[in-house]
């Protein structure tokens, strides 16, 4: 299963500057996708998940246009060819 993960500017230091990463996940939920993402961009999952493995509360993950907090969180099933957006809080003005 291949999905596209959109990477925000502040996390592109983990992806060699790439704004999108195509991730090959073995199974089909968001946690699996993040494990696969981590193998391609080491260190990135620590910026998305806290020490207990929960989604950090200042980072939102959208599956297409829907926030996973209102789906099944990390257990949300990810269909093939979904676009996943990682949207962290930024405060610049």
């Amino acid at each position: 299963m291949t999905v596209t993960v959109r990477i925000p500017t502040i996390l592109r230091s983990y992806t060699a500057g790439a704004s999108e990463v195509n991730v090959e996940a073995v199974q089909g939920n968001l946690a699996d996708v993040l494990v696969a993402l981590e193998s391609q961009a080491p260190g990135i999952s620590g910026r998305i998940l806290d020490d207990e493995g929960h989604l950090r509360r200042f980072v939102n993950i959208f599956i297409d246009d829907e926030d996973v907090r209102y789906l099944n969180g990390l257990e949300t099933e990810i269909p093939e060819r979904t676009v996943i957006s990682v949207i962290p809080a930024v405060a610049g003005g």
Partner: protein
């Protein structure tokens, strides 16, 4: 899509001069005389006259918003002018609030400008916001953004929000009476040091216009009650890809301030809520911070062979290209956070860390001391203080 009532009622009339000035609005059927009279009657408070505040204030003024409030305590710095187009070269050193007022009145003398040359705080926010119909946020830090949000929720005011970093921006409308608030989208702020500010990471100047103009568009739609707003939608913009995306924002029933059982029912201490630097960094920096003047003396002593230490710049390589403190090596902060920097540090010499202004070096110091480098210190004020006090002829940023 939620249908929203116009935020303000129409003024009694437009003068002949105003009709002439606003004619290109008046002939748009959706705006017309009634819409323009609503704008004339509107009172909009802009927090900050910086990157986002500049285009926001200028277009709100040109559009004919009758009363504009400006909350701003800072002065114009030359490094502002790359993006803060409401200020000009001759304004450097002036109050930003006064400089912004002059530009607004030059664009449109029919606008009443209220200056609030003070720092927005829990103690003054509710009194200030109560005088306005709508709040436009152009601030540059998380503490103020949570303060603005909570004050808007408590007063039932619409909150037009935008934020920017490098080539990327976000914008939305929050209005808890009709939809989500900022805390529904981002319940907690990031820990200090994890998300860089524009002062640390930079911002493409014109991005301010891209996001600021979205904010003004939303403000005008809210004030006049036309169109569909970004309430319940997060707009993201990537300037490099020239890509706009819409993401759904839901009202969170568990939201701390606008949810079913709110735990935040009055304004709190937002500096404590967001932290300026982490507790670990603050602990590490206590009694382990030297001034740039001390560093100058230490470097001179090192030159004479009377003292030995390793001076480490924990900024990013491109910052080092702008200016550095002589006699230092580069190990970016990230290598401290992931632990890989530790192998590069000497055990037979003291370690001295510095960054731009002292925040990142304090974070790196916490890691360094935690790894057993007990006598490590960092430089308060960083390279910016070094240039100001030791080498004033070198560039700052």
């Amino acid at each position: 899509m939620v249908s929203l009532p116009p935020v303000v009622g129409p003024a009694d009339e437009l003068t002949i001069d105003e009709v002439r000035r606003y004619s290109r609005h008046l002939i748009i059927p959706d705006v017309g005389m009634v819409g323009q009279k609503r704008l004339k009657n509107a009172r909009v408070l802009c927090i900050g006259a910086g990157g986002l505040g500049s285009p926001a204030l200028m277009y709100l003024a040109a559009a004919g918003v009758g009363t504009l409030g400006i909350v701003e305590f800072d002065t114009v710095d030359e490094s502002n002018l790359q993006r803060q187009i409401i200020h000009g070269q001759s304004d450097v050193g002036r109050s930003k609030a006064e400089s912004a007022r002059d530009s607004v009145l030059e664009i449109n003398p029919y606008v009443t400008v209220n200056l609030h040359p003070e720092r927005l705080e829990s103690a003054n926010a509710l009194h200030l916001f109560a005088q306005y119909d709508l709040i436009v946020d152009g601030t540059d830090n998380f503490a103020t953004r949570y303060l603005v949000n909570d004050a808007c929720v408590l007063l039932g005011k619409p909150y037009v929000w935008g934020s920017i970093y490098r080539f990327e921006g976000q914008a939305s409308v929050f209005w808890s009476e009709y939809g989500p608030c900022y805390r529904c989208l981002y319940p907690d702020p990031p820990p200090p040091g994890m998300v860089p500010s524009c002062a640390e990471g930079g911002v493409l100047g014109v991005l301010c216009a891209s996001i600021g103009s979205i904010q003004v568009t939303e403000a005008i739609k809210l004030l006049t009650g036309i169109g569909d707003t970004l309430l319940g939608t997060l707009m993201t913009y990537d300037a490099l890809a020239m890509d706009y995306r819409r993401l759904r924002v839901r009202k969170d029933p568990n939201c701390a301030v606008c949810g079913d059982n709110p735990t935040v029912t009055q304004l709190i201490d937002y500096e404590a809520f967001c932290g300026t630097i982490s507790d670990d960094a603050a602990d590490a920096a206590r009694d382990a911070t030297i001034s740039v003047l001390q560093l100058r003396d230490w470097l001179a002593a090192r030159e004479r062979g009377e003292r030995d230490f390793l001076l480490v710049d924990v900024r990013e390589p491109h910052e080092r290209d702008i200016v550095d403190i002589p006699g230092s090596i580069l190990i970016p902060k990230g290598k401290f956070l992931d632990g890989s920097a530790l192998a590069e540090l000497p055990t037979d010499r003291q370690v001295v860390l510095y960054c731009k202004v002292g925040g990142r070096s304090a974070e790196a110091l916490a890691v360094t001391k935690g790894a057993g480098f007990a006598d490590a210190v960092h430089v308060g004020g960083g390279v910016v203080a070094w240039v100001a006090q030791v080498e004033p002829d070198r560039p700052s940023y």
